[in-house]
Amino acid sequence: MIEVRNVYKSFGSLSVLEDVSLTVQDEETLAIIGKSGSGKSVLMKHLMGLIKPDKGEVIVDGTDINAVSYQELRDLRQRFGMLFQGGALFDSMNVFDNVAFPLRTFSPLPEDEVRARVRENLAEVQLEGVEDKAPSELSGGMKKRVALARAVALKPQYIIYDEPTSGLDPETSNTINELIRSLSEQSNITSIVVTHDMHSVLSIADRAAFIHDQRIRWLGTIDELHTAEDPVLNGFVRASEYQIGKPAAATNK
């Protein structure tokens, strides 16, 4: 369980988060939605201590992650898997080594077991025969899938997805959404999806938090989303739903 309590964050004179509080329940899939630049990526980075809040606390499984030592924080982060927007695959390694990297670094597995696990993970994201390719040779969707395979390699408790479908065509987006859903259905996995793609939200999330003007303006289940009476939220949702039928390019930022 992750609790965010009264977090404030500003960069220089630009205030990004003001008094944000949020609780992520175990085994649920929470979507953080909002316009581009609304601060949802910043909030996401607070969840695993990549950014420290100016004020407030972030508590993961009962531990205030900003009060512990760097070493403890890093141990804690190993419970997380994260899928970055652009994949963030290591350029210096091929696909296989990228996926094997967390296993080699943090697990005591011998090399042949690492190989088996990597192949398994890649098969899970429906990628085979690309092990020896460099990340630069892959398409955007393939990169995301490799990154996903890497994110789940250590079987994390929490998986955070940062704009998992942005920049992808609708078909690939659906594939990614399917993967996320199948992962989140496995036991003991808590997912946080940061996105502005309402199609994603509707297909994978249990709950959604809407960020607007540096604050959480609305928080509720997906079912409640349709009946919500917040004009700003409704505007956002309708604009997104209107775009669902349109070409993928329009769903980008």
Binding site: K45, M48, L50, Y70, R74, D75, L76, R77, Q78, F80, M82, F84, Q85, G86, A88, L89, F90, D91, F101, P102, T105, F106, L154, I160
Partner: protein, 251 residues
């Protein structure tokens, strides 16, 4: 104005020192970074040997020819050329030429590498996995710099003296024997030690400045370009300052 021109640099210095202190606090986790260290030592050190040797060869040769040109006098023994070329290479040129070349070659490369990792969130990815990105990325590079620069310095100096002797001998300025005799006459065993100290310091400056610039890159591809240029230029400037400071403090 005040903030930009005074507080800015002081803040940058603080950030740099903090980065380095974090890096050296993670020295204990050497095991994890060991493979990286050797990889960086090859990239920074071994791969730079040819260019450094070439630069050393030509500086030694040119120094010899120009010294011979300047000392064309019947009252000065020709062996003085050796007495000038060898200490110059050992004390100054070997280290400084290596430093300048590597500020461009290694400094720019490190800054570009880390800058790209920063803007494509690879550094965040490392952190998110629970890795100490500073330890993982910076420590091996700075250590490789400190360990391999002396090797490059020795290469440049050795090849440079060889080039000087070669040009002197085959260019007809003075024989190799005279050259060596001249070099021995004024040779001080502390000179190469001092050159070695310089190369340690230059190695540290180049790699740490480049790591700092690369690690804190912001602003996408343009930011990477800016970091790369700044890393190369600042390394050169700091090498000049460090060179003077070392000469004043130690000699």
């Amino acid at each position: 104005m005040l903030e930009r021109h005074i507080l800015g640099p002081i803040e940058a210095l603080g950030q740099y020192v903090l980065l380095l202190s974090k890096a050296f606090r993670s020295l204990g986790e050497f095991g994890i970074y060991q493979k990286n260290l050797f990889q960086q030592m090859v990239r920074i050190g071994i791969d730079s040997i040819p260019i450094v040797a070439l630069a050393g060869l030509f500086s030694g040769a040119v120094l010899t020819v120009q010294t011979a040109y300047q000392l064309e006098s019947p009252f000065i023994p020709q062996s003085i050329i050796g007495s000038i070329v060898v200490p110059s290479m050992v004390l100054e040129l070997g280290a400084v030429v290596t430093g300048f070349i590597l500020a461009g070659r290694v400094g720019a490369r490190i800054a570009a590498e880390l800058g790209t990792m920063r803007v494509t969130e690879q550094i965040d990815a490392l952190e998110a996995m629970g890795l100490n990105s500073i330890g993982y990325l910076i420590v091996p590079r700075v250590m490789a710099g400190i360990l391999m620069f002396p090797v490059l310095y020795i290469t440049a100096t050795g090849v440079g003296i060889g080039g000087g002797v070669g040009v002197a001998h085959y260019g007809g300025f003075l024989s190799a024997g005279e050259f060596v005799a001249g070099a021995r006459q004024f040779f001080s065993p502390f000179d190469p030690i001092f050159g070695l100290i310089k190369s340690f310091v230059f190695g540290f400056i180049i790699t740490s400045v480049a790591c700092y610039k690369g690690y804190y890159t912001g602003g996408g591809a343009e930011g990477v370009g800016r970091s790369t240029t700044e890393a190369a230029v600042l390394s050169c400037v700091y090498i000049l300052f460090a060179n003077l400071a070392l000469a004043v403090l130690i000699l």
